[in-house]
């Protein structure tokens, strides 16, 4: 029995254990200090859902052998572009979100295909290059946002051309999923509808991974030599994984934006991929293994910590951005920790 517990803890990993304890500690502090416990928990739940797809996007990338997708900012930018176009064409209500997702997915699939091709030339250094592809693309998109010929006044910069820094969504799909089938229990708002939508994406991904194409992709990612022997095209499967990852990121940022209430353009997406990477790593993924379970746990722990550290930090040290510092240290710390683990697995 004892061995079983120790073995289980070992598999859980010391880093994850520390993070989980930190999460629980924050939860307790929030309750003890009476920092509007119900509102904080509601916030944790919303953040769990709003970041979910962005983190889920890491799974196909890792499973297809491309490593953690530090370039998911490409997909994020595509999703934002989809959102802007959907609003520009005047869609409202549910259609605005659906059309944004469709536009965004199409762009993301194209960009993902091109980027996946690039990744095939640079096997072995994907993560570093992905980071700079992401940075370069975001700064390129900054120029695109300036020159985008927008006619809709609610999107346009007040002075001159170009899209606004933050596009308000309250008139279109802002908080649509947040309020979808939301249930309130004891002051805690549970976004049931949003959770169901996220779960639906999990099921879809699960179905794909269990399908023939999905299994082939995982074989190609896990053991390229073996895959070659079976006559599976490693390169094509890597591209497939990248495209899936990008499309999920594109839809993910729209979900994020509807919760947040704004499409954040220009340099806002610059470091978003790092947060998604950190979340999936906290969930127990590595650069070569990732599961939907990792995503569920990791997103809850990481975003929960971020959500709760703000009120706690404000109570401990008022007028501070201690929460921001917690975010920097936790997210980058876990990435460095994961990087040090790479060699031992191989």
């Amino acid at each position: 029995m004892n061995e079983k517990i120790i073995g289980g803890l070992k598999r859980f990993g010391s880093a994850r254990l520390i993070i989980s304890l930190f999460f629980i500690a924050l939860l307790v502090i929030t309750y003890v200090l009476d920092l509007s416990f119900a509102a904080t928990v509601s916030d944790v739940l919303i953040r769990w859902c709003m970041n979910f797809l962005l983190v889920l996007a890491m799974v196909p990338s890792v499973l297809s052998g491309c490593g953690l997708n530090f370039a998911s900012t490409l997909g994020i930018c595509c999703g934002l572009l989809g959102g802007v176009l959907s609003l520009e064409f005047g869609f409202t209500g549910v259609m605005s979100l659906i059309m944004a997702a469709i536009f965004g997915s199409v762009f993301a699939a194209v960009i993902g295909g091109i980027y996946g091709k690039l990744l095939n030339y640079i096997k072995g250094s994907e993560m570093m290059i992905a980071t700079y592809v992401g940075f370069a693309f975001v700064s390129l998109m900054c120029i695109v946002w300036v020159f985008l010929p927008i006619t809709n006044d609610s999107l346009r910069l007040a002075m001159g051309g170009g899209v606004r820094l933050n596009v308000e969504l309250s008139a279109t799909f802002g908080e649509m999923l947040n309020n979808f089938l939301a249930v309130e229990i004891g002051g805690i708002t549970i976004p049931v509808g949003f959770m169901l939508v996220c779960a639906a994406f999990c099921v879809l991904l699960r179905l794909f991974l269990n399908s023939r194409a999905g299994r082939l992709m995982q074989v190609a990612g896990e053991n390229p030599k073996f895959a070659k022997a079976l006559d599976i095209s490693v390169n094509r499967n890597r591209i497939l994984g990248t495209i899936l990852s990008m499309v999920l990121s594109a839809i993910g940022i729209l979900f994020y934006a509807q919760s947040y209430g704004f499409l954040q353009l220009y340099t806002a997406p610059l470091r978003m991929s790092f947060l998604a990477v950190a979340a999936v790593l906290i969930g127990g993924a590595t650069t070569r293994r990732a599961s939907i379970g990792n995503v569920v746990l990791g997103t809850l722990l990481f975003n929960g910590i971020l959500a709760m550290s703000t009120p706690v930090a404000n109570a401990l040290a008022p007028d501070s951005n201690l929460a921001e510092i917690v975010r920097i240290i936790v997210s980058n710390g876990i990435i460095v920790y994961a990087l040090t683990k790479i060699k031992r697995e191989v």
Binding site: F70, Y132, S139, I328, L339, T340, K343
Partner: protein
């Protein structure tokens, strides 16, 4: 004969393709921007003196096989910590420079050691690790200087702290204390420096031409023509620089009253010499051996991990000193963001100079910093000239920096993938 020399010229162009591309880009950017020549010159000169030291700090890790050291931001933080405490002790003038160097060195050695330790655990992923370590260190640095100062760590100078007595202000000015502590040791005006540099360049060209004629080198005609064109360009530039002394009052103002820190230039030259010297020592040979092939180096009795850590320590220490040189010349400091862009700009600069992930030299650093900052300095004006929007130029130069690093990394990775494929065959 003719064909052979054409082939040689082609080889030269291929070897320096990156540099040639950026020379053309820099000239085009300068022409489009319409910036006054004196202002342009002054911009490049001051950026050169401020940034070159840190770019030179990148060379040793590249040779030792650690790739581009993005964690020089950690060195920069060590420099900033030293500056904060030096100023808080109320030290001024040249001693303040010496004291900050003295404080920063042990800090940088410690940080470099820790970074080296981590990088030894992440072999093959050094660059991304060093980058993320930089971000992580940024968080810790902010935690210390925003919260621990004034609460856990006593701090003597209340004027540098936030009003509530916790944490250092987000922007510090060093006028009358630390500012120009190195620059004032030995400086001149750009006006005088231009004259000396112009004459020196002319003399060099003449000597070179005389030697070329004496030797009667039998290199092919195109190469010789290329050499002559090069000499002619330098000569014309030198004459131009000398004539520049006679230009308008406004231009003279820029040139006569802006300090040109010869002392910083001396520091840069010393580091160049150090970089050349170290690769002639036993340690330098070890750096090279480890950079070429870790297995071979290990078999021949080199302690690979130790060598890599030493490379990181040296780089971090130089980055710290570089930050001190930079800050004393600028005179103000954004406590929590002054270090953030350091690695991006330094790495992009050395790559523009023709370096790669596995190859870098003083030449790459010096040339790169001039070219990169020539483009960087004028791109807002280029944006204004082309698109009537300076913000576009701002975005463009950020894109340029990121893009350069991406292309260089991708080129190197493609080469590596090819090599490993060939080895398998």
């Amino acid at each position: 004969m003719q064909e052979k020399s054409t082939a040689r010229l082609k080889a030269v162009i291929k070897k320096y393709n990156v540099v040639i591309f950026f020379i053309i880009l820099a000239i085009a950017a300068y022409i489009v921007s319409g910036v006054a020549p004196t202002v342009f010159l002054q911009e490049i000169a001051s950026r050169f003196c401020r940034n070159t030291f840190q770019v030179l700090a990148l060379i040793i890790p590249v040779i030792a096989g650690l790739g581009l050291n993005f964690s020089i931001v950690i060195g920069a933080m060590a420099g900033q910590m030293a500056v904060i405490h030096t100023v808080s002790f109320g030290i001024t003038g040249f001693p303040s420079f010496l004291v900050s160097v003295l404080i920063s060195t042990p800090l940088a050695i410690l940080f470099g050691f820790l970074v080296g330790k981590v990088l030894n655990k992440t072999k093959g992923n050094e660059m991304i690790t060093s980058m993320i370590l930089g971000y992580l260190a940024n968080g810790i640095y902010q935690f210390i200087y925003l919260y621990l100062i004034g609460t856990a760590i006593p701090f003597p100078d209340k004027s540098m702290m936030n009003d509530n007595g916790i944490g250092i202000k987000s922007s510090l000015g060093f006028d009358g204390t630390f500012r120009y502590s190195l620059t004032d040791v030995w400086n001149t005006t750009l006006y005088d420096f231009v004259l000396i540099a112009g004459i020196a360049a002319l003399v060099c060209v003449v000597i070179y031409l005389i030697r070329a004629f004496m030797k009667k080198k039998k290199s092919g005609i195109p190469v010789r023509i290329a050499q002559y064109i090069g000499c002619a360009v330098i000569a014309v530039l030198a004459v131009f620089l000398i004539i520049l002394r006679q230009v308008s009052f406004q231009a003279q103002f820029v040139m006569k009253f802006v300090k040109f820190p010869l002392s910083a230039v001396i520091c840069i030259l010393l580091l160049c010499l150090f970089n050349t010297w170290i690769f002639k020592t036993k340690l330098g040979h070890n750096f090279r051996a480890v950079g070429m092939n870790q297995q071979v180096a290990m078999v021949s009795g080199i302690n690979v991990n130790r060598t890599r850590i030493i490379a990181m320590i040296l780089s971090t220490v130089f980055a710290a000193w570089g930050q001190i040189i930079r800050l004393q010349d600028i005179g103000t400091m954004n406590t929590y963001s002054a270090h953030e862009q350091i690695a991006l700009l330094a790495v992009a600069a050395i790559l523009v100079g023709g370096a790669s992930v596995v190859k870098a030299s003083n030449k790459n650093a010096l040339l790169g910093i001039i070219l990169f900052h020539a483009i960087f300095a004028v791109s807002p004006q280029v944006g204004t000239a082309l698109f009537a929007d300076s913000q576009v130029g701002e975005y463009f130069r950020v894109f340029l920096a990121y893009g350069i690093i991406f292309v260089a990394l991708a080129m190197n990775a493609v080469q590596q993938a090819k090599q490993s494929k060939e080895r398998k065959r």
